[in-house]
Point group: C2
Chain length 200, copies 2
């Protein structure tokens, strides 16, 4: 008989993970420490540790939570639209809006995690690569649909278009964090619309 129910532990873990997302957004997943996080949620270090079992598990849980939040805020609102060019345009708008509202205080979480772990093999790198694969494929599918429907030029390369849109969104978030100038979102949006310029 555990002293706390599994549901209570899950609630605590979710609460601590939420605080971890906010901290890691600013300091990076690599800057996340069990002791620092414990202080922020007013718990003892060993209590936070026991919720995750290792620092790496804490980092993985934090990464997954941040991505889930991104999907919920950016993809979910447009998921039920008709696939194709219109949904891509709506997605890009939500995407830039998400960064402009600074839902993540430290900027794009996926970009941060990517530059932190892309050169260091391990479970974090694998998780980042898997997330990129899923995200790029999501966009590529809509680009392919748009091409089939004649909404985008027939010679459009879905992989290239997905790559291109990501570059613009990621750069917009980075530059905004650095300059605090919201003009970068207008620039990125304009560039995205030209990337998605209709066929014909």
């Amino acid at each position: 008989m555990p002293r706390r129910s599994a549901a209570a532990v899950a609630r605590t873990r979710a609460h601590v993970t939420g605080a971890a997302v906010a901290r890691a957004s600013v300091d990076g997943l690599d800057g996340l420490t069990i002791g620092g996080l414990a202080g922020a949620v007013e718990m003892r270090k060993s209590s936070v540790f026991s919720l995750f079992g290792s620092r790496e598990e804490l980092q993985l849980a934090t990464f997954e939570a941040a991505i889930a939040q991104f999907v919920e805020e950016v993809w979910e609102p447009v998921a039920d639209r008709e696939p194709g060019r219109e949904r891509l345009l709506a997605l890009c708008e939500r995407w830039l809006d998400y960064h402009e509202r600074e839902v993540m205080p430290g900027g794009c979480f996926l970009t941060t995690a990517t530059v932190e772990f892309d050169a260091r093999p391990g479970p974090l790198r694998d998780a980042v690569a898997a997330t990129w694969g899923r995200w790029l494929r999501l966009i590529e599918r809509d680009v392919a649909t748009a091409v089939e429907r004649g909404e985008l030029p027939a010679d459009t390369d879905p992989a290239q278009t997905a790559f291109h849109l990501n570059g613009l969104a990621s750069m917009a978030s980075c530059q905004f964090q650095l300059t605090r100038d919201p003009a970068v979102f207008a620039r990125a949006g304009s560039a995205m619309r030209s990337v998605l310029a209709p066929a014909g």
Copy 2:
């Protein structure tokens, strides 16, 4: 009378800074530790410390050295060309080639430093922002020249074009680190050429 000449100290410092660039390229400037670096160059921790005076100074010196190397490898070779569209195309080619050759083992140093410090005020963030300002202005000037010469469409926005090219280069480096697929450089190059499509 110092036991070692100023020139000898400068040589040692340059050597240690070079090792710091290689390490920080993989682990980030935030992952750079005086002790770890001392081990890599086979010196004592206090010796490395005394070369820089503080960890922050070590980070700043490492950042400046990495940027100097980038400028030397990417900008210098095209600096004496005629300003305008041709130089921009040559620059983009060198830029992607620099990332493909993996001169920096951990990918784009400026991107890494940006996501690490963009949300944390201090001298590092200031150095990153200043470097971005100089780099963007360099590109914007050539874009403006190309527009004046009629090599690019008259309605081209230099700031937007510079922003756009940076997004593509940065994303190419990140994706290559993650997937090891050199196709991203072909995608980025193709996108860059379409961004710099000639007027008319």
